[in-house]
Amino acid sequence: MNSNREELRIGFYVCHCGHNIAATVDCAEVARYVGTLPHVALSREYKYMCSDPGQELIQQDIREHKLNRVVVASCSPLLHEHTFRGATEAGGLNPFYFHMVNIREHNSWVHTDRKEATEKAKALAQAAIERVAHHKALEVKRVKIHADVLVVGGGIAGIHAAMTMANAGKKVYLVEREPTIGGHMAKFDKTFPTLDCAACILTPKMSEVGNHPNITLWTYSEVTKVDGYVGNYKVTVKHKPRYIVEDACVGCMECIDACVYKTPKFEDEFNEGLGKRKPVFIPFPQATPQVVIIDPETCLNLKTGKCKKTCVEACADRMAIDFTQQETFDEIEVGTMIVATGFKTFDAKRVPAYGYGVYPNVYTALEVERLVNASGPTGGEVITRDGRHPKSIGIIHCVGSRDKKTNVWCSRVCCMYSMKLALLLKEHTGAEIYNFYIDIRTPGKGYEEFYNKLLDEGVHFIRGRVGEVTDWAMTPEEEGKLTIRVEDTLAGYVRRIPVDMVVLATGLEPQQDAQDVRRLFNLSCGGEGWFLERHPKLAPVSTFTDGIFIAGGCQGPRDIPDTVAQAGAAAAECLALIDKGYVEQEPNTAFVLAEECSGCKSCIPLCPYTAIAFDESSKVAVINEALCKGCGTCVASCPSGSIVQNLFEDDEVFSEIKGVLAYD
């Protein structure tokens, strides 16, 4: 130990964390042992170190006992390192003279043998005591936050988040890859449990977004590149050619009428393929922006160059049609971002037993949303693909949910939307409706009451996961129908129920390209592919990348109320950062000892955050502190050992190892 320094006086505290630690670790023994180590001025145990009295204790001891180093053995630093650094600072010390030992997650929670666990706690504590002696005073750096925000995804989550922030006076970029905003919600007919019409509550918000002076809306656009760090992101956005000059198009749709295709001929994506559209089209009447789009896959002119271009004639001097349009790019600077890229619905063909794609009268729930919708392909008339008005309908729950062969999770919304569709179908057709469910899950405000309403309306509920949907008939009443074979598990009988129409309540899945988006924004994913929140309870919209938040269905299945609440929360997190104006950066960054650097540049391509540059004048590597995340890759790879990382200097790390090994 450096004799030039002032005398070391270390204060040690071991926390019981109620029973969490004390039940498995003999805290008194740990405190006693650490008290015998050199330079330890005092050693205490306490029930809850993170409580106010616990923090007060540290501050008081620093003052009264002239402590100049502090070690707390308690939970994970992820939870309370910040707390104890604060207490250390409040006591008058540099906060980085503090070190934390995790004896809960790394010890008491994973061991059962009290004696062994106590010994392990002592070893870890000794390592920390050795280490903290080498700690240096460090300074927290502040980084300014750019006030503009990017919202990725224009579904109800993105719309709500963008509106919230724009109304607070922030400049918001909203990027949507489809030609219109609105997302899945725009396709719904009504919303549970209140049955208000989805369009009536969504489309006003959509046009508000389109007209808001603080919102730059870019549809048919995608984020292709993200650089920078919290407060200072540089984002590249690609605009796909829609072959329409957005500013010139007034949404009169005369070009659509004039198209050489007299009748719509191509599968209409917005109507889930149940209707047809022309090559030039607008996805739905309230699309935002009110701008048409030309599909290059089906447009005669774009495919062959041989077309009378009657659309251009119709557009006349508005001159909004531009067949020469190419991809364009914008680069923007923002301080924070919200990723609200949504979900996709499960492909029902993956459960072959239910006959989707084989039997025409088997539908997905989203298709039925369009079928019962007044602005849908049939104008709200429920008529099956083979032209029937169904007299009996079976709705199969949990298709692609709670199933180890497809997706293990509960998709959360299907019980409620199935009941909603049951009610709408009953209203439209008067048919007998059967719901086949494993468990009915209605945990939301007014949801159980909705279930009750369905029962009152005479909708049937049969508890059993359907074995198969088939078109072979066993009995006369099954002839010409689809038969559902299922165990009515409450009655204990296997039943065959003939119906005219089957609706599959398909579950929710991460978007096809969720992994690409994850890499683009440096997010994490759970094993199932949903974007991972920083903490499931206490940081539900934060991610592991500072300044980037998530909202809505990209994080996991959720309904509209939860999505909107989460979008509001994400907006509030952005606003909090923006209005604070700066972020503090953990000083665990690396720096180059210029006099020892050989200029080999081997560190530069290794840095995952492109934080290292080469200074041509001095011929050495230079690390941009603002970009460095403290991952340590460059430190480990530097052949001349000339890169050092704060808080992980060699003597700090080696003394910690020495400490843990010294214990036996």
């Binding site: 072959p352 037993a353 006959g355 088939t470 078109d471 072979w472 066993m474």
Partner: protein, 302 residues
């Protein structure tokens, strides 16, 4: 291509038409089948119901024999044999205790079961090793106009088959189409035929036979094509019982190998069509269309 042929008990007994038609067809395609010397019963479903460990020992003797005699892939035409041999392999991989028991038994007679010999079904070999193109070249009397309902039954696609789709297998469909037949689409192609229940609990077994016959017939099939001796026996042998309970549903059931022989123009003695209770009388209409032209390169080589 060389295979250890594992006929199983049925192909020597009630299902002998399967063997009698399969062997000439395979020979015609140049497949080298060597019957496994002194093979024993696979154990089928019945043995597993009495003693699982002994059932595994029983089946693994066959695996060990194949390993000893050159380690060629086992060709198991009977669905039960195919399933049981594959299941045994699966158990030996998955469950160390079972493996220890089997090893002890094999050890006592100086045998081993270590080389993971593949167990394959003729459909798998025909489609994936020989290929539809080679089969088409052998077709001299296409089954033009014959409407066949392909019936896979349960045990070759569930749960250990890897060569075809579990829910909607198509290997036999494709084979039959290659022979020139018209394939009937129907939803019952992997449903159970009733197995031994036709004999033990006739009410249950006969019902299942009836459902299959009735549905295939309703959809216009001239015959059912099967891959399993038990399925064939059930679907062919119980017509009088079906008639007593449900009325007449006359529909012949043949092995896919018999249809292959027919399309290849093999002589009657290699078709074994006389082994069925419900005779299959359909014959390719003559004169047959010109045989498929072999590709130029091949004809030069020939």
């Amino acid at each position: 291509m060389k295979y250890s042929y594992f006929p199983g008990c049925s192909l020597k007994g009630l299902g002998r038409a399967y063997e009698e038609s399969l062997l000439p067809v395979m020979k015609h395609l140049g497949v080298d089948l060597q019957e496994l010397d002194d093979w024993n019963c696979c154990g089928a479903t019945a043995y597993m119901s009495v003693d699982e460990a002994k059932a595994c020992v029983l089946a693994s003797r066959n695996l060990a024999l194949a390993e000893r005699d050159g380690n060629h892939p086992i060709l198991a035409p009977c669905s039960a044999c195919y399933l049981v041999l594959n299941k045994t392999k699966h158990y030996l991989h998955q469950y160390p205790k079972m493996k220890a028991t089997v090893d002890r038994a094999l050890n006592a007679v100086g045998m081993k079961c270590e080389k993971d010999v593949p167990v394959r079904h003729p459909l798998d070999v025909l489609i994936n090793d020989i290929g539809l193109d080679a089969i088409k070249m052998k077709v001299t009397k296409p089954l033009q106009g014959l409407k066949v309902a392909p019936y896979y039954g349960c045990q070759i696609v569930r749960p250990y088959a890897t060569f075809d789709d579990q829910a909607n297998p198509t290997t036999m469909d494709r084979l039959l189409e290659a022979l020139g037949a018209t394939v009937i689409r129907w939803p019952l192609k992997t449903k159970c035929c009733g197995g031994s229940l036709t004999g033990t609990i006739p009410e249950a077994g006969i019902r299942m036979v009836y459902i299959l016959l009735n549905e295939a017939k309703k959809r216009g099939a001239d015959c059912l094509a099967t891959v399993c001796p038990l399925c064939q026996f059930n679907l062919d042998g119980y017509h009088s019982a079906v008639r007593r309970q449900y009325g007449d549903v006359l529909l012949p059931t043949v092995y896919f190998s018999q249809l292959m022989g027919l399309a290849f123009g093999l002589p009657d003695r290699d078709l074994a069509l006389n082994r069925a209770a419900i005779p299959f009388r359909w014959r390719p209409s003559s004169p047959p269309p010109a045989p498929a032209k072999p590709p130029a390169a091949k004809s030069v080589a020939a």
